[in-house]
């Protein structure tokens, strides 16, 4: 693996940028485990995490039995049993805009935008809207060093799909910075960690002066370009500004004293990465733990993680009883053997979700846990991969959003309820004042 930064250099100054204003304001440390009944700390920000799984789930082993507070986890959801009071299972949501098109790209790229993507191999690429997480990043992202964090496990899938005439990159992004620009994702835990927690040797005065220079050059260029090309240049300038903002944040954070416990965990994580293997389960765990650490240190409040790209045929042979590729298995043709493997894959993914939940619960933030101040959405843009079915998506939200979510329930909505209504509800809980999102003018009923 390519190591961009000498380890020692990266460690120097680690944590120096970890400032946690609300933690300093807290009077007394909370006692772990007692926090559940306590009032959420209103000074603590709400965080948003999205965990996306490709290729759908076995529809027969997903939906829990029972409704409201009286529900029993399905086989796929069993790993959530220890956290049943912290999760909301949502049944019957879908993105109407993802009907038609093709079996995968329209679904994946539209999962957080709630729109229909343009059928194209590149010309006039258009996701139809900004994704929910990026709407939030625009609104509140300036409060943290990184407006948002986008992570995945696989490189962007190359080429175009000539069968259906979409560029395959659509299936590699759930986060869209603009309608026409996806948010690039990190797939290497080491690079992601360095970007989050490294303070020296990366961005500083030298980079600032470089950016000053190129910004001037870009401005003088603008007059020579047509409107289409100017949009590209605007994208460039916007990105330069984004990096400059990051440098400002870094400067501000350098001046703050480190929080000792966070710093210790950051150091420990750094050491752990040195021995983290290349195996998929290890990388998934590293990424998920990194997100929790980033939330805890307030490096960002918004994160998305993709278990894989649309149509990924990743081998899940590391899961007991699974012997094939994910996409192959998702086309189960109702064969019992394939359906069983499909269930086991979803169950493993839900286990990872349960792991995140447990980690977030273990972080004390005043009288409550990080999970109590968070919203963690787990879902896929397909239900049954065999049918490429976009209705009744598998969707679970963990956390309490500082008292504004009422978990512990299986909420069965009317058929074809709007996924966008959930997105709108989550946005509002992040403090984003949005009138509407996608096709939803009202937030999903009964969120809490």
């Amino acid at each position: 693996m390519n190591r961009p930064i000498p380890r020692r250099a990266a460690l120097r100054g680690l944590g120096a940028l970890v400032g946690l204003p609300w933690l300093e304001a807290m009077a007394a440390p909370a006692v772990r485990g007692v926090a559940r009944a306590a009032r959420p700390n209103v000074d603590v920000p709400v965080r948003l995490l999205v965990l996306f799984v490709p290729n759908g789930v076995n529809p027969t082993t997903w939906t829990p039995a029972g409704e409201g507070r009286d529900w029993t986890p399905s086989r796929a959801l069993e790993p959530l049993a220890p956290h049943r009071d912290d999760v909301t299972i949502l049944t019957n949501l879908w993105n109407r805009g993802s009907r038609g098109g093709d079996g995968h790209y329209v679904k994946v790229a539209g999962f957080l935008t709630g729109t229909t993507i343009a059928q194209t191999t590149g010309r006039h690429l258009d996701a139809g809207g900004v994704s929910m997480d990026q709407v939030a990043a625009r609104a509140i992202g300036d409060r943290t060093p990184l407006p948002s964090l986008e992570l995945s496990t696989e490189p962007v899938t190359g080429g175009i799909d000539r069968n259906v005439n979409y560029t395959r990159l659509y299936g590699s992004y759930v986060s869209w910075r603009t309608r026409t620009t996806p948010a690039p994702r990190e797939i290497d835990p080491r690079r992601a960690f360095d970007r989050l927690f490294r303070t020296d040797g990366g961005l500083g005065a030298r980079e600032r002066s470089v950016l000053d220079l190129v910004r001037e050059e870009a401005r003088s260029l603008a007059g020579r370009l047509g409107a289409d090309d100017r949009r590209k240049l605007d994208e460039y300038l916007d990105s330069v500004r984004g990096v400059e903002r990051r440098i400002e944040h870094l400067d501000a954070h350098r001046a703050r004293p480190p929080a000792a416990d966070v710093r210790r965990d950051v150091d420990a994580f750094d050491e752990r990465l040195a021995t983290t293997g290349d195996a998929f389960p290890d990388r998934v765990r590293a990424m998920l733990d990194l997100i929790v650490l980033a939330f805890r240190a307030d490096r960002t409040r918004i994160a998305t993680f993709m278990f894989g790209n649309a149509v990924t045929n990743r081998s899940y042979a590391f899961v007991d009883g699974v012997s094939g590729g994910h996409h192959e298995i998702s086309h189960h043709q109702n064969a019992p053997e394939a359906l069983e493997q499909y269930t086991r894959i979803a169950r493993w993914q839900v286990e990872q979700f349960a792991h995140v939940i447990a980690r977030m619960k273990a972080v004390d933030e005043g009288e409550c846990s990080l999970l109590d101040h968070s919203m963690a959405l787990f879902g896929s843009a397909l239900r049954d991969g065999n049918r490429h079915d976009p209705k009744n998506l598998p969707v679970v939200v963990a956390g309490r959003a500082a008292g504004r979510l009422r978990p512990g329930r299986h909420v069965v909505h009317p058929e074809n309820s709007k996924l966008c209504a959930l997105h709108l509800g989550l946005l509002r809980r992040l403090g984003v004042e949005a009138e509407s999102f996608g096709d939803a003018d009202e937030e999903l009923a009964g969120l809490g």
């Binding site: 690429l125 175009i160 069968n163 603009t178 047509g226 990105s239």
Partner: protein, 599 residues
Amino acid sequence: MLAALLASLALAAPPDVPVSFGDDLRPVLARACFPCHGDDGRRKGGLDLARFATGDEARREPRLFREAIRRVRDEEMPPARGPALGFAERALIVRGLAALLDPGDGPIDPGPTPLRRLSRDELGRTIRDLLAVDVDVAAHLPSEGGGGEGFDNAADTLFVSPLFVERLLGAVDAAVAAADLSPWESRDDPVAAFARRAFRRPIDEADLAPYRGRPFADAVRAMLVAPTFLFRIEGTRAPADGDAPGAVPVDDHALAARLSYLLWSTAPDETLLARADAGGLRTAEGRAAAVARMVADPRSVALAERFAAQWLGFDRLVTTSAPDRRRFPTFTPALRDAMAAEATLSFDRIVREDRPVFELLDADGTFLNATLAAHYGIDGVEGDALRWVAVDDRRRGGVLGMGAVLTATSFPLRTSPVVRGAWVLETLLGTPPPPPPPDAGTLPADDVRDDGLSPKARLEAHRKREECASCHRRIDPIGFALEPFDPIGRWRDAAAGQPIDATGALPGGPPFEGPVGLKEALLARREAFARTFVERLLGYALGRGLEAGDERSVRAIVDALLDDDGRSSVALLGVVESVPFRYRRAEAADDAPPGGEPR
């Protein structure tokens, strides 16, 4: 025989009497095609022909109608159980549609020229060249997808984000730190010299002003993230005698950059810049000489590594192929790398030695080292270095016998006749099958499992379903011919304990036997292969998807290529000489952005 006759009738000469789409063609299509492709919203294979009311509408989708011509000409459509089509009606459709697609002899539209950002790979090669460092710049940058004709250099799918800029800053820092800048610093005016190479054009003092008065390394850092470096901003020059009408030629240095990024995936070198300075790229002879020199240069391996790898899909060998480790313990990284190198070197040889592109289909040898030769069961090859080895056995030689292709088109535990068949149709013949219906199934993951049915027998059972059959009749028999190659490209005589039946056929063609038979059948359709190659190459060169206006360029290059036994230089020069490669539209007809302003 009939098909060939019709083809020559229909495609060689336009019809004597103009054919009206609405009055003449549409009624025939309505009877013969609409029952499955249009009436009552029926869209078999995703195709709705009823939506085309006029010839102008039809012209906007040349690929669709070229494919329709081919299917009707080869009597694949209408299907046997569909409406009967007489000779005259069939000829009318083929000739009428061909005439419709023929854009006549007016000025050629150079097509859109969206602003091209250097791709991740191009940035890596360019910075490595400029600084003479061995730093993997591309590895610093976020991965990118592809667009247009399927390549990662397509302008419309190259974005800039804060993460990209941040990573580029880091990559440039690392490269500059590793570089020995003294060769540059010994020049009269290091900043001016570097800017000329980095910005790929003559530099004036105004260009340099921002970079003056600071350490050279700082100036280099800034120049390598500057928009003038990152984007291929193209000037134009006044048209002169001999220039194409109705279009504006790009200036000498923009053309030099188009040449170098096509052939090398990196910036022009001093020699090419000097040639551009002297106006040496204004004549066809000058361009041919430049291309010849550049092809002979080692950097032209980029064409194999970037163009061929993405076109033929052997880049997937490294990114996504994952043969099961327990089943295939011999599939080591060393073997995988040798497979990729075999494919790369084979394409490179065709370019470098100006050989027929048809050698991709069938060659009398291939590149092997000891590992790969042992894998193929070929004796007498030793050492780790790959070299050209003459091979009598016609099962090898050409992409159909390459481990890279055969592995990239297989699943972890089994071959896929469907994937391999679809690969041949799409990649070699340019006729991708439509997507499967939503509830399409797949074969079991493992073809060693013995349930009494061979994969072929299972697939044949599945082709009895009518909604599957019309496509799988075209796809599967191609894949069957490749079944003697196992999931990692080894020869096998049996699978799942049963002898392999390698009888195959191309759509509308006679049956043949095994990979050798498939090779011969493909060579007999070399025109379709040549067209596919040219379309992909032109798309790669232009960094965009092809449009209706490109059809004449494609056809001219294909004709020239076929006339000259497929020599690769004919295709390369054909692309270089084409109007879209050397010109821009007269007025920047900006396409309206689909969304709002980026923020």
